[in-house]
Amino acid sequence: MEITLKNVGYRYKNKKILDHINLKIEHNCITGITGEYKTLLCEIIDATKLDYSGSVVVGDALLNKENLKWIRKEVCLIQQNPQNQFFTNNVKEEIAFLISRLAYQPKDINKKMEQALEMVGLNKSYLDKEIKTLSSGEKKLLQVAIGLIYNPNIIIFDEPFVELDFINQRKLLKLIKVLKEKYQKTIIITSNNCNLLYEITDDIVILKKGRILAADNTVKVYQNMTLLKENDIDMPDLIKFTMLAKQKKVKLSFHRDIRDLIKDVYKHV
């Protein structure tokens, strides 16, 4: 499901915070958002904030107060701090509560609960755990499991990687890829970690001073040296290395995997 933002602006107490946002987020793509006011943009897309100017179209529907119920089902925002998103103390209660709100009640609730956890790679023993005993990584996965119960078409991850260690980061990256490839979801990720964004996203949106600085294919944007340098945008390490080598007149190419870079370096030394 694609998302189109037309001339979206956001003001707070007469101060322009977002201005002239024209953006198309493609269906079944992973789009990264980086820069200032990422979260605000996400909240506009998932209709948490409605007091903006301009229009947001999700699928075929224009976002407004009348179709809030529908949008809540279609768009799922995974907040940065998991603690803000849980209602209860217990994993089982949390999942059961959300299943109880579904329009069509499943015959076997226990099975449905296990399936929800299984999708994100947590086994059923987690059903008996208390939420506060889970580690940050497990909380993040639980958040995704709960988000997926409604089977939304669009999933927004707000700063998903900040608390996660390497193993959990890999788990989440793998899950995001599966959601895209197997379940044809549209995915939005906000992050300041340009290395991870470079690795996983198809498209990237860079926000600066409330406007869109760049919105294009990730590789294209990150290889646009003049744009990045002039605007002081963090460069992925892999790109930076190739760029420094190019300054030395070494014919190194841009790579997305460190192993390819090493092979290339080996050829040129």
Binding site: Y12, K15, I17, E36, Y37, T39, Q80, N81, N84, T133, S135, S136, G137, E138, E159, V162, E163, L164, D165, F166, I167, N168, Q169, N192, C194, N195, D232, D234, D237, L238, K240, F241, L244, A245, K248, V250, I258, R259, L261, I262, V265, Y266, H268, V269
Partner: protein
Amino acid sequence: MANILEIRNLNYQYGKTTIFKDFNLSVKEGSYIGIAGNNTSGKTTLIKLITGILPSKNTITIGYSYVDNNRIQDHSKELGVVLGNNLTAFLFEDVYKEMAFPLENLNKETTEIENKILEITKLFGISKLLDKRTEDLTNSEKQEVLLAISLLHQPKILLLDNAFSMMTSKAKQKIKKALKEYQKKYNLTIILTTTNLEDTLDTDYLYILNDGNIVVEGEPLVVLKEDTLLSRLGLSLPFMVDLSLKLEFYELIKGIETDMDRMVNGLWK
């Protein structure tokens, strides 16, 4: 130099799960140590034990006295704490008020408060943020402000829990440099916990924590050579260390080089 923090035979259980068993750690005054570990290693629990939020039964001493769970206030003056992932902790509308609040609580004079705030914000290069509203800050700026606030009451020990997780790499460099300057001036002891090994490169001494045990310790560059162990524990090597080890394997360079410019200059003279 004397030890400012001593942990002797610390035992801590949560429910049936043992988190620390006979854990020992001593920290010298004025040192900058890093504790890295995955999401279930017990880092945050350790911070909570040191601050006295969790009971440690007379196994932790700060200076010459035990940390007492019932008398947290005794030590709160000596500790500065930044919980980097808790960005909802802001109480006031503008940044200046937010920064003045902890000092007002200590019954400081208005002029003294102002001087202190100006000094710290100047050092960290965030004077511009003082007139901003806390809501308008980006996540990166929020973390910068939180760090500045934690130093206002001149603590002896600074505890940083994932304090750099959302900073842009530019901001991180700036803040880390300022922090080192501050440390030298006031002989501050810094304990940094993180899942990101990149953040620990500039520490004096690094501990790798796993399931409540210290598995490896030493100077960061020595510890980081244990790449297979670290990736098994769920920690990813910083890009430059990873690249160095791989290039060293092909005998293209010797030793670990953390500066990208120097590495490129070394490879292609």
